[in-house]
Symmetry: D3
Subunit: 137 residues, 6 copies
């Protein structure tokens, strides 16, 4: 079994805000991430699939197909967007990296053919990153 | 003469939009960067000063002082902010990297002591960057 | 379950030397790393915790809290220090990356609340790195 | 148990081509990677071994030994080479990253002493990478 | 005046070989870079243009236009190619980074509108790079 | 004219301390960089030479020669060393990056043949760097 990783990037805005709480409570919880006008990041997304290389190609998955899948299903929907307002599949979700990674997993997991999705890694800044592997606690 | 560079980062939102033009014209000019809800970046800022190392310290400038200057005058005002709405010194400016770099120059240039500001470099994404050296064309 | 990583850096000196052995034996074991006056690195530390995002915040852990914990308990004690001479919790330890990573684990592990420490990754140079996950062999 | 990683780089050419198929079929399978004159990459190789730090040294493995092993057995045989034509142990193998990583594993695995080989990671471009951990599916 | 840089990457093979000399002389001159079957790199290309930001847009140049120009005129012609055999504008040229950078300059320089080409930077490996600014010695 | 850059790295300790001043004054001047036991860095050195590519080779300079020069004259003397105690050519010099870069210039400049030394760039941390071009103020 081999793990194959495709890296893509996107630039987006977000605001961390829970509408169930007061503004003061949101600042307490999210500090400067609760800034009403939002802020943004160059996100780095790494999608890893696991499988056996096929005999005919030596590929676990055609990375061109994986690239196109990730761009069509994810990047085109989040790049140069505001994650709180412009993205259907994040509606009602507080757009922390944790929640975004899980939302990406739900979209990609059923679309990987001939291999299985192993991990979604999302780097928000050079210092902060999350990874989701589909594990239930 | 030695050039000394301090690197800082900040995360911000912006929208490229010229209010003198129609929305259609703005999309034509700025494409997806004109998205009404904005988008964002992890900006990388490199501030370079030039001067002679002092005899007593071997420093052109104390980088701790330069760091504090850049953080106080720039980073605290733009980090986790929306550059179109939250930043006094960018009011009325289309926040392209070119314009942001020149605005940073105007703020920092009079505040550098014992050396002179040489360059403001601003990397918006891993593929796009600008540099301003105070040159008039 | 989601894995959340915080990256911090510090600059420190160390010398690889086992006082139970002769100088010649130390050079044989540690080569140029046994240089009596020591040498140094910009270490890159990645601390990963694992847990479930909380409903209210979408956070596994508040990265601001994790940052402050790592800076208070680790970075302030090792940054701009000599790891053989200036750090209480490394006394009597040969400061290889392996031993440093395990010492960091012992300090951080009891201090992570609401999630569990998953991994300490320490990059000594761009070519050499170690990772410790609390596993006993 | 601690995981220790050594990073090395090499520059090589390759062509993805399965001689059992027609040229047209190869272009269908491998697209521009089937270009008859080949193309090339700066590969980044990360070799990870796992083990217990020795009492005397604090090392899982002497990274100088691991570096020399990887350079002697791998890098010298693939650096500035054409992977389809110049490398004995890749003869008859379609040189995808998946297949190269597994070939490297077979070479290194029996040569690691006092620790066990844990992972071969091979980055072909800044966006594409594979990892092999010796797992059979 | 502001300097604006666009970064692109491509993967290609090359062989350093001067047909006016014997094979032995070529090995003496180019060492392992003269390997008959060639070798390859992930080249990083940085194209810098200089100019004044336009009043209407705040742009020196629309980076989307620059990206498309560089991709159409350069990247599509060299990516996944063998630089000695597959590239018209490198015919008869020893494909050192120096010569490649100058060839790229000649192609791009007449195509930059509203600004002037300032620099072509080409990174061949993480350790080796060249820059050409159109200067005659 | 083309600029050619070779990148090398080294790991070293240093302490910023001016023996003409009291310890208290040194702490005032150099803060934590005055720590008596020193601290260290992974320095990144970039040496740039400028010249015309030779007709026969397409090289400004053979980068293998430049690499060997830099390693023999600089890296072997500073790597895994304490810059205050172990390096002849830094004796009596406060080892700030500014002073180190100028010392490297003095060593390399007379040794570059067929091209001229253009710049010494020294990155001390990911945030702090200096560059010296042989300019007198």
């Amino acid at each position: 079994m081999v793990y194959v990783t495709r890296r893509e990037t996107f630039s987006a805005s977000h605001r961390l805000y829970n509408p169930q709480f007061s503004d003061a409570k949101n600042v307490e919880l999210f500090d400067k991430c609760a800034n009403p006008n939002g802020h943004g990041h160059n996100y780095v997304l790494e999608v890893t699939v696991a499988g056996n290389p096929e005999q005919d190609t030596g590929y676990v998955i055609d990375l061109k197909d994986l690239k196109e899948l990730v761009r069509r299903e994810i990047i085109q929907k989040v790049d140069h967007k505001h994650l709180n307002h412009d993205v259907d599949f994040l509606e009602g979700v507080i757009p922390t990296s944790e929640n975004i990674a899980r939302a990406f997993w739900e979209i990609l997991q059923p679309n990987i053919r001939g291999a299985r999705l192993f991990s979604i890694r999302l780097r928000e800044t050079e210092n902060n990153a999350v990874e989701y592997r589909g594990e239930k606690s």
